[in-house]
């Protein structure tokens, strides 16, 4: 196949004509670039914090996959390769902002202070979403593609009605981040959400991680135009950013969130990135893509690139790397112990939250369930006693 020969930016399934306007502050070799519109000015500690978040997220991914292989998780949805997009975008949010993730945005969950064990509880099968969405400002993961986008817009409309937009008070002005993938842009509800947000000027940032593949379907099967250009049709700015450049992602998302918070309306960001691993642990990417493609993207790794940059600036040294490795090891150990210690919920708890107010049929079924449970318990016990006598 010829795609590797044509260069890593031009795999044959990619939507053409896209890179000229891509915001980049750090090229794939870790060299700092200037951009006329977007800039970030961070302290060394903040830069190290971004590296730390990406390294920890990659460790979460490694551990998640291992735990699935060991039978501790029913499924794992990997994030390797998307650390720059997830950490950069989530670090741009403020405490009062609200995030509507897909099922792959573990980086956003970590950045918003969610216990990583709670991120894994869904995949272990002990619940459908383990954290408090209100406390963290993070909606539960949404498994139905694009279904989180309209609620995100509605949430933003609620923010508008609360008068929490355009007040000029940085502690009050609020925005919403709606994450989606490249495949989600094909869903009708995604088009509704973009249009709806523009019509109502809702304070929403649509953050699309174009990781090139929707399970086995390349992005060219989702769209014949670059995804960020869909924003124009909806009536909002569309920005293309190098999703493997954490600085550019941070800068672009910050600007879009600021615009939303100040009452400027929605923005669509396409973070151009790559899913290095499988769609989930149930997937086999060797059936649908070339290893040459994956290898080419490995050259653009968001963590390696950032590390090179920090080294060249003298911000990162061996001591910090060693401390970071130790922190990641400790994180992994805590995660493994926490996941294995997650206890199965009481079976009867499945009846607890179907309704807020009593529903007689559900209550009757709960009683039936408990009666059958006790009966079978008694019978099992009786059989044991009978067998012994």
């Amino acid at each position: 196949m010829s795609d590797a020969a044509e260069g890593p930016d031009r795999a044959e399934h990619e939507v053409p004509g896209r890179h000229d306007d891509m915001v980049q502050l750090l090229d794939q070799h870790g060299v700092r670039r200037e951009h006329p519109e977007h800039e970030v000015d961070l302290e060394p500690e903040e830069l190290l914090g971004l590296l730390r978040d990406m390294v920890v997220l990659r460790r979460l991914d490694t551990e998640g996959e291992a735990l699935q292989r060991q039978g501790q998780l029913g499924l794992w949805v990997g994030t390797r390769g998307q650390e720059g997009a997830q950490v950069g975008s989530a670090q741009a949010t403020r405490r009062q902002d609200h995030v509507f993730p897909t099922y792959r945005d573990h980086g956003a969950a970590l950045a918003r202070g969610i216990d990583p064990v709670h991120v894994l509880s869904l995949f272990r099968g002990v619940d459908h979403g383990g954290w408090d969405p209100v406390e963290h400002g993070v909606h539960p993961y949404t498994l139905v593609i694009a279904a989180q986008l309209l609620p995100a817009v509605g949430y933003g409309m609620g923010v508008q009605r609360d008068g929490a937009v355009g007040t000029g008070d940085p502690a009050r002005d609020t925005a919403v981040v709606a994450y989606l993938g490249d495949g989600a842009t094909s869903q009708g509800e995604a088009s509704e959400a973009l249009n709806w947000a523009a019509v109502f000027q809702a304070p929403v940032v649509f953050f699309c991680q174009n990781n090139q593949w929707a399970i086995s379907e390349p992005v060219a099967r989702q769209s014949t135009v670059p995804l960020h250009r869909r924003a124009e049709g909806a009536g909002m700015p569309g920005v293309l950013v190098d999703g493997n450049d954490v600085l550019a992602v941070l800068a672009v998302t910050r600007a879009a969130l600021e615009r939303a918070r100040s009452g400027g309306g929605p923005t669509f960001i396409e973070a151009y990135t790559y899913r290095m691993g499988a769609h989930t642990t149930a997937d086999d990417p060797t059936r649908y893509r070339l290893s040459a493609e994956t290898e080419a993207w490995r050259e653009k790794d968001p963590i390696d690139r950032f590390r090179t940059y920090l080294r060249s600036e003298g911000i990162l040294d061996d001591d910090y790397e060693a401390a970071l490795d130790a922190e990641a090891d400790e994180f992994a150990a805590r995660l493994r112990a926490g996941v294995i210690a997650l206890v199965d919920p009481e079976p009867v708890s499945m009846f607890d939250h179907a309704y807020a107010e009593p529903h007689p049929q559900v209550l009757a079924e709960r009683d039936e369930f408990l009666a059958a449970w006790e009966q079978h318990d008694r019978e099992a016990h009786g059989e044991l006693v009978g067998g012994a006598s």
Partner: protein, 327 residues
Amino acid sequence: METMPIGKAINAGLRAAMDRDPRVLLMGEDIGPLGGVFRVTDGLQKDFGEHRVIDTPLAEAGIVGSAIGMALRGYRPVCEIQFNGFVFPAFNQITTQLAKLRARSHGKLSVPVVLRIPSGGGIGSVEHHSESPEVLFAHTAGLRVVMPSSAHDAYWMIQQSIASADPVVFLEPERRYWEKGDVDVDLGPGEVTPLHRARVLRAGTDATLVCYGPTVKLALDAATAAAEDGTSLEVVDLRSISPLDVDTVAESVRRTGRLVVVTEAPVFHGPGAEVAARIQEACFYSLEAPVKRVGGYHLPYPAARIEEHYLPSVDRVLDAVEQSLAA
């Protein structure tokens, strides 16, 4: 006591809820200056403003999906779906999101959204304007499904639905919008019938007719006609399809020994099947005859010029009663 049609009673109920609670918002297509295609929201945008009565883009998933988000932010959106057959583009938001968020979040998220859907047929309209989608929602755990049959219930049940912490599908019997009735607007707390309680509207001894929404008037008419022939029919208005007040129906059936369920929804796998199954479980030894069901056929809703043959009629109800009495 005030006399008004059902459509106006819903309007008055919405107005009362909006007066009482600034978090109550209305969303839908053409609900502003036009007042909705049935004029149910007439005058509300003028009085409450565009921020509380929101004319939306023409997108049903958008209406329900954004209402979910507003509810998560603490608002109480009441969505108008223009016609029953147009709710399906929103089905994903209703069944995978609206109905499930409470359970998924261990009760930490509340989604008190009301979906108002003109429902049932009999208005001589074109396709997708006359359907009865209630079982699709009743079968979805997490939703409540109710349908008033009188102006009084319409006025109070819409307010109770808005006050509910659960999402409520509020079906409006579209061919009864113009039917007038007395509304006691001055009832105090505890004086209003609970949202999910069925009501015996007419006492009788020979058989029970169970109905809701548009078939309530039909059942009452059938009971009047039967009385002329010396047959005494009890009429029970379910008012709520989920949950179902089985106790009230069972008490009635224990008295009469016979049950005919009358719905506009198709009989096959329909709401009548659920009532029949539960009543045979609860009242097997009181039943003198198999439970009969009268309703729509397992067909796409037919063209308007023949819909009267699809919809249950007094004659079809009386035929079923006759078969029940003969058994």
